[in-house]
Assembly symmetry: C4
């Protein structure tokens, strides 16, 4: 079966056919009318690749340095919640696949595997921890301490989520975490464990009850006060916020519209990337997630100034297919596609992808 799955879309199609509706819709859906969900992908088509010819590409190297560490491919795993809905080994399998491929795995706060489980599953991989800040700041503090202790290398602070977006499919489904799964980072912790008896979208209720909607940029300083881990700010879509983040001394910005799941009508993340690169590209590392489906998408993001991209849903489709093996297959597909894109456009290394190599479609409207 897997033999006939040769691109990310093939795995997506497969996942759509095997996942239960409750889980599939949670993973698949976007906010509101889902225009941005579609746009996140399509927007890549608005950028065109200008390949260069006859450059020695016989020895290629896809590795890059991210936050001082070498990663083998510029494609990591973005945080997505509750991965055990896709496969019994969930986050652990996903993290092992990233480790095997030499890239970064980011664990969600609201995961169905705990920080410690994931650390044990993938002890040598580069692991980052995604952070939501709870009204009860001690909850967050404990999470950070556990992540540090477990060897996680960065904190990915999600800054676009005072509450979860309105995802109509989840509302229709009255989404709840299946009863055999748990928010593993809060085991036995009644206040912060998800309450499966909530009606409507159970997750929205959980988030509204517990997340701190009063968060401000100054709270980044609070975080910096008790951890030395580099902070990656995830969810920035404007130059204005990028400047604030850079001034606060964050290590990196992950340009993201949260997989189009927060508010419909935002730009595609690839569209928002250039203004952020222009504003702070020389001061902090910049990454991107949202809509990556193909190696050429990765290529375009790198040309536009991202140091690395992250995938969320594609890894879930890989998990749904065959756990760790499935995710490795997804990463291998993207790696191969990127490798071909590099070679064929005259780039031997990631650094060779210069900004002149990707232009907006409008470039070709002027003679």
């Amino acid at each position: 079966m897997s033999d006939s799955l040769v691109c990310v879309k093939d795995f997506e199609k497969h996942a759509f056919s095997v996942l239960p509706r409750n889980a599939l819709d949670y993973y698949r859906s976007g906010a509101g009318a889902e225009e941005t969900l579609v746009h996140n992908r399509r927007a890549f088509s608005k950028f065109k690749i200008r390949p260069r010819c006859l450059r020695n590409v016989s020895r290629r190297d896809l590795s890059t340095m991210v936050l001082g560490q070498r990663v083998e491919i510029p494609v990591g795993i973005s945080p997505t919640a509750m991965q055990r809905m896709a496969h019994p080994e969930g986050e652990c399998a996903n993290a092992r696949a990233a480790q095997a491929m030499g890239t970064i795995y980011t664990l969600s706060t609201i995961a169905t595997s705990s920080i410690e489980e994931v650390a044990e599953a993938a002890p040598y991989g580069i692991k980052w921890f995604q952070l939501y800040i709870y009204k009860d700041r001690e909850v967050t503090k404990r999470l950070v301490e556990r992540a540090e202790k477990a060897g996680f290398k960065a904190l990915v602070l999600t800054v676009d989520t005072p509450m979860f977006g309105l995802r109509l499919a989840d509302i229709r489904n009255k989404f709840v975490l299946p009863p055999h799964l748990k928010f593993a980072n809060f085991m036995g912790d009644k206040a912060t464990g998800i309450n499966t008896t909530d009606t409507g979208s159970g997750l929205n209720n959980y988030v509204n009850r517990l997340f701190d909607q009063s968060l401000e940029w100054k709270d980044v300083k609070w975080l910096q006060s008790f951890t030395k881990l580099p902070i990656v700010v995830k969810g920035v879509l404007t130059a204005e916020d990028a400047l604030i983040a850079a001034d606060l001394g964050v290590a990196a910005i992950l340009v993201s519209n949260h997989g189009a799941r927060q508010v419909d009508g935002t730009p595609a993340s690839i569209e928002a990337l250039p203004e952020i690169v222009k504003a702070v590209g020389d001061r902090v590392e910049i990454y991107l997630d949202g809509g990556i489906t193909d190696g050429t998408d990765v290529y375009k993001a790198l040309a536009l100034g991202a140091k690395m991209v992250f995938i969320g849903r594609p890894a879930l489709w890989g998990l749904a297919h065959s756990g760790e093996e499935g995710v490795k297959k997804i990463l291998t597909i993207l790696k191969t596609e990127l490798d071909y894109a590099l070679a064929i456009t005259g780039c031997a290394t990631i650094k060779d992808i210069s900004k002149e190599m990707v232009v907006p479609q409008e470039y070709y409207s002027k003679l």
Copy 2:
């Protein structure tokens, strides 16, 4: 049933399945080939939201001040004719829903409930009266006096309707008001009551016979001469007309293409908004109707300079579903969607929606 209706489009789909053709087509249709009807909605997608992060949104307030009065949500009810075709309680139910939600209800001149009935149905709500000017000016004068007496707070003068547009569906259906309904503001008044024996689109014949096609901007002065009610000019689509209206001392301009029902080929109302805001945004209040289907549509209109938006058809779909309750549900959906949009884009109040937060798609075509 209503449980599964979670967005305005769900209610629209429901109404399309339950309303009789004569009524549905009257409500649904636009002028000519209905390109603007489609465009009114789609044009919102051409504007993108630039969300800001990490701003304290824990205490949100959706209220705003309109013509000196506080409204709880910046979404009111636009005038639409003959609402009893959608529900036996028609305008009265609609007005009660607006009252319950703390927002404005605008009664049409050619309503199937009278000024007095609506005033009695929703005594505490903010009610505006939409005005057509008849050849027989005394008819209009009497309507204004009755509206004043009944506690209506503004006159919404429709300025885009020397005659009704050509709506092909109504012509095909030979639209007539169902025999059990009446133009309630003209009960017993033969000259101005609709003549149900007219052939073709009965309403077009009525309008052509009675409305004053010689109206000019100076007639606004005539209106001002005998009423102290603030005048909202509805139907302006150009900076030129906005300037004339502002010079005449109107209180507000409602940017509108009459739900795409007058002439096909106009801009979407959201497209026309910016030039009007630029021309007179500092002198008069500016509102918008046309195509609002989602809380993010409201958000975009506010960012582009509207103080308030109004909905016509969505309220009719609510009425068709369950009268007052249905309209409340519609308004609640839009309120919730707007509330989420505010929170997720870093806005605690309506005033926080600044103009940098919404940009045309073209903004992202330039690197």
Copy 3:
């Protein structure tokens, strides 16, 4: 039946269902892949109407002056060949309809009714004669003399047709004029009558054999040397040619891509109009044909500088429906639609349609 036909598209649909394939394809088709055929219509949607409010429109007048003569509506009949394929009375019925509506009828050189028949059918209507120039110049000279004698008021010189375009449907159908019909202006004239035994597209063969492909602008002078009739140059799409035509003293330019039948890939005629208006709009009258389907299309063309528009296919659909009555119905629909467009945009007369009232869609992409 006709009762339910309320717009031009309804008549088109009807004609598609009743005309024989050979005739329908000849009328319907465009050159090559027919992209321009589609584009001719759609391009009107790229222009938006900016309606003005509260202007006295109680007394409206749709008449205009064209080449010194009053026409009741700014919509005339463009030349189309072989109209008896659509209705037994063909050109005569079409001309009578134009006469009844007070507008211009243009007779094709390759008509199935003769100059004299049409003159007799519609003695009081304004009739123009469309001219192809044959290799045998005497043929053309005789046609002009007959047209003058028969009271035709202008010569419409087609300048875009050294040969007929490749219309694939005609090639597939091996189009021939049905045997009971004749090129009536050449009755008994073997050299210039169509040879129905030609294979492939019989018309292309005819045209290639007889039309003068060596024609140049200087030949307009030859035409001027023996006729005093005003010359309307039909088929200009560029400012460059418009300037040449104006310098030669032609009376008018009919901006046209020959109903998208000559070469695929040209601009829509409505797109080409502005550059021609800009170049010579103050020196010659400018008309347009191509894609007019609705009164708002007429409105847009007038706002962009055309003094008059012409329809080809819509009149054929009217003919196919019910001969003279059908064409009158088509003209009445367009007249009514234009009248509504005028009234609703604040124009009492054709002159009131000023150029600010129609803008390209791009106007609304800039805040």
Copy 4:
């Protein structure tokens, strides 16, 4: 049957219905998601033709001079691999058709007919030889010497192919050359003959094993050191590379994205043409391939500065239909369409197609 095939798309449809999947997919497919494959064709629609009127076109000449030789039509045959999959006579039939039509045939390095076979099949035609450079440089040198000896007139050096692109259909099909066919230029040469037992896309494996991925622009000098044949550089898409090529003294540049087969997301070749013409159009001859389906496509490419265009797939569809006759039919269709386009736009010769005659669609967005 052929009678009803009147345009290139008809032949394409026919080929899709008769070719075996393995061969069809190899010919048809593009890289990755095949967006550029679609875009290559559609992009022609973004350019509009501005026809000129009344210019003497009675004597037309479609011939042009290319690399000092007269060709009868500005449409030649681009190199495509393994043409015997389409017809038993493959490259030989294709070359004979080009010879018959007085135009250029380009033989692929990885052809199923040898240099010598093709030379014998079409001794009087203008033949060019497409060159891939193998790791074993002697292989390439021998090919050049054989081509020179066999009377080929130019070397078409493919510069966009350090490796073959990822064509998903070939991967799914595990493409291999059918066993009865051979890479005829390497008969009996084990190292460079394709290994039909390869799994996955056999061709990709072959190319990765043998092509020299370390090629650089300086290697053009190596080629120039042992051949006097003019070098046509095929696969340039940027002004930067065009300048390098021109500085190296190549004779011509063939603007091409390799039929959209190398990397998805490049511009259409017609989009890339203008920047290359602007950069080096006065120094080297410029050709184009990619997406040519119609005579107006040829016309547009010539107006934008190409001296000649080449077709790949259309010739294969002709071969699949009826070998040499089919290719002649394809070339005749394009010739006729181009001839009509010339005549109808006022051009008697190729030189008359001036650059003002084709403009991007955006030209018409400005009034």
